[in-house]
Symmetry: C2
Subunit: 344 residues, 2 copies
DNA sequence: CTGAAAGCGCTTACAG
DNA sequence: CTGAAAGCGCTTACAG
C-alpha cells in the first residue's frame, strides 16, 4: 500500500505539502495541489487512520453511550433507527461507531472507554435519567458530547449543559390526547415508561395533562400504569388498565410496542379495537404499521434525530461552540386504524 | 494521560519490557512483571490504540459486510441479533465494529474500506449470493474473513473457501414441514425469499421437499411465491397464495416477518388462524411471540451465530488455520398458536 | 507558498 | 530475562 512518502515522491513535493493538500489547508498553490491530487489518484492512496490518529490526536471513533443492556437495545426499533442516523453521518466523516452498552457484570465500568480520550473523539449519549452521572463525568473529562434526549440543561440545571436533540414530546402527546378527546373519549388510560426514568416521558405526560385541562378534565391516577417499553410490559399494563372501573374507553401508550401489547390484552378480554377501545401509541416504528389494526400514533423522526445528533457532534469538533443548544424536532400525528369514536 | 514511558520510568524498566508485559509475552521475570503491573495500575495507564495500530499493524476494527441498505438492515431483527452476537465478542477483544452497508449511490465502492488493510483487520460477511464477488476480492486481498451463512465452499466450489457459520436450515425446514404434514396438511404454500438469493433459502426449500417426499408428495409450483423478507412482502405473498385453488391449508414462510404478513392477508380474507389456515415461520424473532396468534416457528440461534462467527475470526487472527470450516448450529422447533390440524 | 525535521506512543527485531 | 534503537505513517510548528 502506498504511503504519504510515495505520494510526495511522485508529486515531487514534501510530505508536509501532501498532508496540507489532503487536509484542505489553504495556502497551497493550485498547481501544487493538482500535482498532489494526481499522485494520490494514480497511487490509489488513502491515508492511514492509525497514523493520523496518533499524530492528530483524533481517534475517528464516536462512542455511543447506551444505558441499556445490549439485549434490550437491539430489540428497540426506535433506538436502532436513531443509531442508524448517527451511523450515516459518522460514515460520511470516516468515523466508526463504538457501541458501549450497560453490562450487568460491570455496570460502573461500562462507559469507562468513553471517558478515555484514547478511545473516542466524542460521545453521543442516548439519554435517560441514569446518564446524569455520565453527563457529569463527560463534562469533567472535557470530551465532546451530544445527548439524544433531554440534557440536564433542559431541566433547568444549567450547571451541566450538554447539547441535545429530541422530538417535541410535549406537543406530540398534546396532539395525541386531543385526538382522543375529539373522538369523545373522556376516560383515557396512560401507559407511561418506567417511573422517573426519562424527561421525554415527563414531557409526554405534561402534554397529556394540558390537553385534558383544555377539555376541563383532570388526570386520574388510577388510569396511569408504568411499563418498561417492551411489548410484554404493554400486555401487563393493558391488563391492569382494563380492570379499572369504569373502564377506560381509550389508551394512550407512550411507545408503540407497549401499545401493541395493550392491544393484545384488549383482544384477550374480548374487546374490539377501535370499536370498544381506542389505542394510540408514540414513535411510529415499523410495528405500528404491522399491527392489527394498524396503530394510530405520533411519528418521531428517529433517523433525523440520530443524524442531527451526529452533525452536532462534528460541529463541536470543528469548534462551533454556539451550537450548544437544544434542537427540537417536530412530531407528526399519524392516523391509522386503532382509534375511533367513543363507544355509545 | 500516562504513556508507556511514564510506566517504564515508574517501574524502572524499559518501554520494551512494559510492552512485553502488556502483550503477555513470556520470558519476563515475575518480579519485573509485577513492577510493571503495579506501575500500570498506579498510573491508570491504558495503551493508545492508535499507536498500537500503527506499529503492530492492527486496526482493532472488524468490518461488517452487509449486503443490504442500512434502511433494511436496521429493520431486520434476525440480522440485528447476529450483529449483537458479533459485537459482544468483539468488545471482549477491544475491537470496534465498522458497519459497511450497501449504498444505492455507490454500490460498487460500498465495501472498498473492507478491502483496504488500513481500515480493518478482518471482516464478517453477512452472506448472500451477491457476496460471491466480495468473497473473491477478500480472498485476493488476503484479509481474514468469516461468512455468516453459506460460503462458496459449501456450494461445492472449493476454489473459494471462506469459513462460515450458519444454522441447519435444511433440518429446520424439514422439521417445520413434517409438523404440518403430521397435522394432516397436504396443500402447503411456501413463501420463499428472493429467487436465487441465498443458499440458506435453497437449503430450506430442500428440507421442505424432502419432508414432502417422505409423505409421498411433490412440491406444487403454484404454491410457491417469493418475498423479500419484509412484512409487507409477506402480505402480498399471502394474498397470492390465497388465490390458488384449491386453497392451501397451511403456509410455511421462510422467515417470521413474512409469516406475520401472510397472517394479515389471511385475516383480511376472513380466515381464522389456525382453524382455517396454519402458518409456520422461520427464525423465531421477537415478532413471532408478539403476533396474534403467536407464531409457531423454527428457532435459529441468531446471537450464537454471531458470536461463533466473531470467535472464528479471532481464531484466524491467531493463526489457527484448521478452523477454516463450516460451523452448523442446530435449529429448534417452537410450537405456538399459529398451527393446528387441517380443517375438515 | 513550500519543506526539513521532530514527534505522536507504541512494537519488534536485535544484541546482550 | 532485559534494553537501546529504529521504525510505523502521519501532522505540525517553524523557518524560509
Amino acid at each position: 500500500m502506498a504511503n504519504i512518502y510515495d505520494v510526495a515522491r511522485l508529486a515531487k513535493v514534501s510530505t508536509a505539502t501532501v498532508s496540507k493538500v489532503l487536509s484542505n489547508t489553504p495556502y497551497v498553490s493550485d498547481k501544487t495541489r493538482q500535482k498532489v491530487l494526481d499522485a494520490v489518484f494514480n497511487l490509489g492512496y488513502s491515508p492511514s487512520i492509525a497514523a493520523r490518529s496518533l499524530t492528530g490526536n483524533r481517534r475517528f471513533v464516536i462512542g455511543l453511550a447506551i444505558p441499556y443492556e445490549p439485549n434490550y437495545l437491539f430489540r428497540d426499533p426506535f433506538l436502532m433507527e436513531v443509531i442508524q442516523g448517527i451511523e450515516e453521518i459518522a460514515n460520511e466523516h470516516d468515523y466508526n461507531l463504538l457501541f458501549t452498552t450497560a453490562r450487568k457484570t460491570n455496570p460502573q465500568g461500562a462507559y469507562s472507554r468513553l471517558l478515555n480520550k484514547g478511545y473516542v473523539d466524542g460521545v453521543v449519549i442516548l439519554e435517560t435519567v441514569k446518564s446524569v452521572e455520565l453527563d457529569k463525568k463527560l463534562v469533567e473529562s472535557g470530551i465532546p458530547r451530544v445527548s439524544v434526549g433531554y440534557s440536564m440543561g433542559s431541566k433547568g440545571n444549567l450547571a451541566i449543559v450538554t447539547p441535545s436533540v429530541h422530538a417535541n414530546d410535549y406537543l406530540g402527546a398534546l396532539e395525541a390526547t386531543r385526538h382522543l378527546l375529539n373522538l369523545g373519549h373522556r376516560r383515557i388510560g396512560i401507559i407511561n415508561g418506567p417511573a422517573n426514568f426519562m424527561t421525554a416521558m415527563e414531557e409526554r405526560y405534561k402534554g397529556f395533562c394540558t390537553a385534558l385541562a383544555e377539555a376541563g378534565l383532570n388526570p386520574d391516577p388510577e388510569l396511569m400504569v408504568n411499563g418498561d417499553f417492551t411489548l410484554e410490559s404493554g400486555i401487563v399494563a393493558g391488563q391492569k388498565l382494563l380492570q379499572v372501573s369504569p373502564l377506560p374507553t381509550a389508551i394512550f401508550s407512550f411507545n408503540d410496542r407497549m401499545a401493541v401489547g395493550a392491544m393484545r390484552s384488549a383482544r384477550e378480554k374480548g374487546l374490539k379495537i377501535p370499536y370498544d377501545l381506542s389505542i394510540i401509541g408514540f414513535d411510529d416504528v415499523e410495528l405500528a404499521q404491522a399491527s392489527d389494526p394498524p396503530l394510530t400514533t405520533i411519528h418521531q423522526p428517529a433517523m433525523g434525530i440520530g443524524k442531527e445528533a451526529a452533525r452536532k457532534l462534528f460541529a463541536i469538533f470543528n469548534g462551533d461552540i454556539d451550537i450548544l443548544t437544544e434542537t427540537i424536532l417536530p412530531t407528526e400525528f399519524i392516523l391509522r386504524g386503532s382509534t375511533g369514536p367513543v363507544p355509545t
